[in-house]
């Protein structure tokens, strides 16, 4: 028994009122001395006893009435075990883990057996729903719960293991979204192999979300390794493919594996690129280096496979990996300057070359730059925006508005103009010249330009120009005085990335800071558009298509199907990558490839430790509010039995807990009590007049 609104029980104090009134108004039968009772005839039923009985009954009815009313408002829930019948039964939510690891060693089969047992044990009218859990929860048995066991079994048969990863914390959080409009009692049967790698960092994330309108009971059914205490099945997996110079390196890792000679084959652009056999130590990782394979120009599709030595491998799904390797000569990017011997030019050119960004700086004087060549370039650099003439500024503005991008700094010329060329902003002065030294105060660490860069705190800033950000601007880095230091200004379909200080190592030392190389590399990717789309993703990741309100383009999945409808291609949207392989993306900027692979964490089949699982169960039992301990114990036993396939899910199902709301019954009881109180009260008033005339005793 539990109460949803226990404070209403304070209303029970109101029963003192009828008690007090009864004590005041109760009238004892008048006792009178009489000479002799010899001629008196006892009444058929003693009036006093009858009246006392009536008073006590009335009092009891009124007390019960108040108590029932208070209890009804307190909304008690009656917790009972066993499968109930009727519409008030708890919803049975069967959640099957369909992450990649469930494809190992018949785990999915065992999970189906447990689920079938649960379906077989559904009570009459009891409804259930089947969900698959891998990169999120999805319903597989229809939008609404059903009591149709045949439909549930059919849905269960259609459950397949996917390449996704299951994080148990995310799954618990996902229950809230699935049960968003669900009220009352819900029994969640969670069937999984409970990988250790799926455990969230915080144990608290393993708890289901609490809701005042819902009582959630979570029962765990491990279907992991068959042998109790087993660490995990042996599994080899290709964990990474990368380019190292002119070589392609394939990383292979073994989990709980013996020493074995493994053979890896490489395929580039659909053609075999070689096979390598190498002995891998027990439970170890190794790199298979393919020397100087032939890489066509452009984005190459690279596929690595484990093809031999994996007879004991428990999980075949991770024996293949996809990668996209960009193989193209560096593209020139104009670096416009008014003086080629400026230090800024050297810093920018050097940083771009060192960053292996695929671009090389092409220094061009501002005076001689032919603006007609602008459409050739995805982006360009200007070491001092203030040096740009008016004509070129107009042409550059049109270039940006048409989709181009500029990275510009504000050098000495910029400090001398009232209004900056291209962007048209007024210079509101400078900061740091005579003031205390500035530093970086705030930065958007998650921005693609700044992601992963560190060392900003070491930046010394002595001079920057003050600009007033526009509403559409994004201040990526701000100085300690709040002034923008790195500003992104969208103009039309393009953008300008503006560094409000110089790159001559005069007003600041950014050009000589280590982070400058990384910054330029990410700036190049970002402004060229290549950085918008990752070359590699894991299954379940979300891919943002279209930027700055632009169209998404079209997406072709690994099976060759177009993912987006025609309408979707014209607006930005985010697509979930739920298949492994190569996704092709066609945007206005060109064609791109994304290699999607399973999460390497799924390859580790090590189950959650029994201690951890027991702790989780205890926590769930405690969360299901006191008295759930026995239930949790039954669940535990049931889960273990199910995992071993011995007793099957029978014992597990017997531990289901149903919470029946008692408020409707209490309200019905209240109505009955009101009726009874009225009838008895009326009868009591009527009996004040004696209705029967008793016959006197026969006198002598």
């Amino acid at each position: 028994m539990s109460l949803l609104a226990p404070l209403y029980l304070l209303g029970l104090a109101a029963i003192a009122l009828p008690l007090w009134l009864h004590r005041r108004r109760v009238r004892e039968t008048r006792r009178e001395p009489f000479s002799s009772a010899w001629l008196l005839e006892p009444q058929p039923q003693p009036l006093r006893a009858r009246r006392r009985w009536q008073h006590l009954t009335l009092l009891a009815l009124r007390l019960l009435l108040l108590a029932a009313l208070c209890c009804a408002f307190a909304q008690p829930l009656w917790r009972r075990h066993g499968a109930p019948a009727g519409t008030h039964a708890a919803l049975q939510l069967i959640v099957l883990d369909t992450s990649m690891s469930m494809g190992a060693d018949g785990r999915l089969g065992r999970a189906r057996a447990v689920a079938r047992g649960l379906i077989d044990r559904l009570g009459a009218g009891e409804r259930a729903q089947i969900l698959s859990a891998a990169d999120g929860l999805s319903v597989v048995s229809g939008a609404e719960p059903t009591a149709d066991a045949t439909a549930l079994r059919a849905a269960l048969a259609g459950v397949r293991v996917g390449p996704g990863r299951l994080d148990y914390g995310a799954a618990m959080a996902g229950l809230d979204a699935v049960l968003a409009r669900r009220r009352g009692a819900v029994d969640v049967h969670f069937i999984s192999d409970f990988q250790a790698s799926g455990t969230p960092t915080r144990f608290a994330d393993l708890m289901p979300p609490a809701s005042p309108d819902r009582t959630l009971s979570v029962q765990l059914y491990p279907v992991g390794p068959l042998a109790a205490g087993e660490a995990g099945e042996p599994n080899w997996a290709i964990s990474a493919i990368r380019r190292s110079g002119n070589d392609i390196v394939v990383s292979v890792r073994g989990f709980h594996t013996p020493m074995r000679a493994l053979t890896v084959s490489l395929e580039i652009a659909g053609r075999p690129a070689g096979r390598l056999t190498q002995t891998l130590a027990a439970d170890a990782q190794a790199e298979f280096r393919f020397a100087q394979p032939l890489l066509p120009l452009g984005d190459d599709r690279v596929i690595a496979r484990l093809v031999a030595g994996i007879d004991a491998d428990a999980l075949p799904a991770d024996n293949i990996r996809w990668a996209v390797i960009h193989n193209a000569p560096a593209e020139p990017v104009p670096l416009l300057t008014d003086a080629a011997d400026e230090r800024a030019v050297s810093y920018l050119s050097t940083a771009l070359a060192a960053a292996d960004s695929g671009y090389v700086a092409q220094v061009q004087p501002l005076a001689s730059f032919d603006a007609r060549t602008l459409p050739r370039y995805r982006w360009l650099m200007i070491d001092d925006l203030g040096a740009v003439g008016a004509d070129l500024a107009a042409q550059l503005h049109a270039y940006v508005a048409g989709g181009g991008a500029i990275f510009a700094a504000l050098g000495a010329h910029a400090a001398a103009v009232d209004r900056l060329p291209v962007i048209g902003d007024a210079v509101r002065g400078s900061a740091g010249a005579n003031d205390a030294p500035l530093s970086v105060g705030q930065l958007e660490a998650g921005d693609p330009v700044l992601a992963g860069l560190s060392g900003w705190e070491a930046l010394n800033l002595s001079h920057l120009l003050l600009l007033a950000p526009q509403p559409a601007d994004r201040v990526l880095v701000a100085a300690s005085n709040g002034a923008p230091l790195l500003l992104e200004r969208p103009i039309g379909r393009g953008r300008v990335l503006l560094y409000t200080s110089d790159l001559d190592d005069d007003g600041n030392d950014l050009p000589v800071q280590p982070l400058f190389v990384g910054l330029m590399a990410q700036t190049a990717r970002y402004l060229s558009g290549r950085g918008e789309l990752p070359a590699a993703e894991t299954v379940g990741a979300s891919l943002a298509l279209g930027r700055a309100g632009g169209p998404a383009g079209q997406l072709i999945d690994p099976a060759g199907r177009t993912v987006l409808s025609l309408a979707d291609t014209s607006r930005p949207l985010t697509v979930k990558l739920d298949q492994t392989g190569f996704y092709q993306i066609y945007t206005a900027a060109g064609e791109a490839l994304v290699a999607v692979n399973p999460d390497p964490l799924e390859s580790d089949l090590t189950p959650m430790s029994s201690a951890m699982l027991a702790r989780w169960r205890r926590a769930l039992a405690a969360l299901q509010s006191g008295g759930g301990g026995a239930s949790a114990g039954a669940e535990s036993a049931g889960g273990a039995a199910a995992a071993r396939g011995a007793a099957g899910p029978a014992a597990a199902a017997s531990g289901s807990v149903v919470r029946v709301p008692l408020a409707p019954l209490l309200l019905l009881l209240t109505a009955l009590l009101v009726l009874a109180e009225s009838l008895l009260g009326t009868y009591s008033l009527r009996t004040l007049r004696q209705r029967s005339e008793p016959q006197p005793r026969g006198s002598s």
Binding site: F34, A37, E41, Q43, Q690
Partner: protein, 322 residues
């Protein structure tokens, strides 16, 4: 010489000339003999005297009614008779011993049996039945004493509490009145034992006045009293009831508790109003019938009645004995 008839003993019809002052005197006596007025008198002998004088004031006969030295009859001498009353002349003529009886020698004795059981206490704090019985007993004793009748008293409840044999000795009346005054209602009622006790102490014929509420089986009561009647005594049953016993006035149901037994009976107002009075009437009638069958007289008195009624009844009884 003739024995006065009861008609002679009873008040004669007054002449019209006598009627007016007689009515006035009777009215005054009625006011004076109101039980609640008499009960207010702390002195019982005084109350008795007032009652008796008030009663006799309306009578035309002398208070010494029936008292004379006139010859009445001869009676055969019986063992125990005083030899002084043997008519020796008759013995000389007839050789038989007879006793010559005169009118004055027909004085009777009155034995008062006063029920002092707890039920007689009903009626307090106003005029209780027992107080009424005390007044009546005292008045009867006073009246009998004035008639030169021997007066005795037996106070009883479930046992005999006080007993004073009938006597005409000086101070007898005061003694009787004192015992009456001293009695208090308590305990249960048992008629058989007092009557037996009285019979064992006195074999003489006389008048026996039994003052009680008679909450008992009439047949059993008469069985107890009948030996007295067989003995030649005139038995008078004064049944004293409170008006609320005759017509209980209950506004609501009540739990009535027997004053003697403590038994509690819950009755409704309707039962008390309709059923119980009829039961009392039937009981009184049954008692009256049983008394008549046994040669006893029965008189129902409620405590609101003036004492003149029972006193006149006593006088009728006394005249009947002549």
């Amino acid at each position: 010489m003739t024995v006065p008839s009861i008609e002679e003993a009873m008040p004669e019809q007054p002449t019209p000339a006598e009627r007016a002052p007689a009515r006035h005197a009777a009215a005054s006596a009625a006011r004076l003999l109101a039980p609640e007025v008499l009960a207010g008198l702390a002195n019982l002998p005084l109350a008795a005297r007032v009652a008796v004088e008030g009663t006799l004031v309306g009578l035309h006969r002398s208070p010494r009614l029936g008292f004379s030295q006139e010859f009445v009859e001869y009676r055969a001498y019986m063992e125990g008779d005083d030899p002084r009353f043997i008519d020796w002349n008759v013995y000389a003529r007839t050789d038989r011993t007879v006793i010559k009886r005169f009118l004055g020698e027909t004085n009777s004795h009155l034995m008062l049996l006063l029920d002092a059981s707890a039920s007689m206490g009903y009626g307090a704090p106003g005029l209780s039945k027992f107080r009424y019985a005390q007044l009546l007993a005292a008045s009867l004793a006073y009246l009998a004493s004035r008639q030169h009748d021997a007066v005795g008293l037996l106070v009883f409840d479930e046992a005999v509490r006080e007993l004073r044999a009938p006597s005409t000795r000086t101070g007898q009346l005061e003694g009787v009145l004192h015992l009456i005054e001293r009695a208090a209602p308590a305990h249960r009622t048992d008629y058989r034992q007092p009557v037996e006790r009285f019979r064992s102490h006195s074999a003489r014929r006389g008048m026996v006045a039994l003052l009680s509420d008679f909450y008992c089986d009439p047949a059993a009561l008469i069985d107890s009293v009948r030996p007295l009647a067989f003995q030649g005594s005139d038995v008078m049953l004064f049944q004293i009831l409170h008006p609320r016993e005759l017509e209980p006035a209950l506004r609501d149901g009540a739990l009535l508790e027997d004053m003697e037994t403590g038994e509690q009976v819950e009755v409704s107002a309707e039962y008390a109003r309709r059923v119980y009075p009829a039961r009392v009437r039937r009981h009184v009638q049954a008692l009256r019938d049983a008394a008549a069958a046994a040669g006893a007289d029965h008189l129902l008195l409620d405590t609101s009645q003036p004492l003149a009624v029972p006193l006149r009844q006593y006088l009728r009884f006394r005249e009947r004995r002549r």
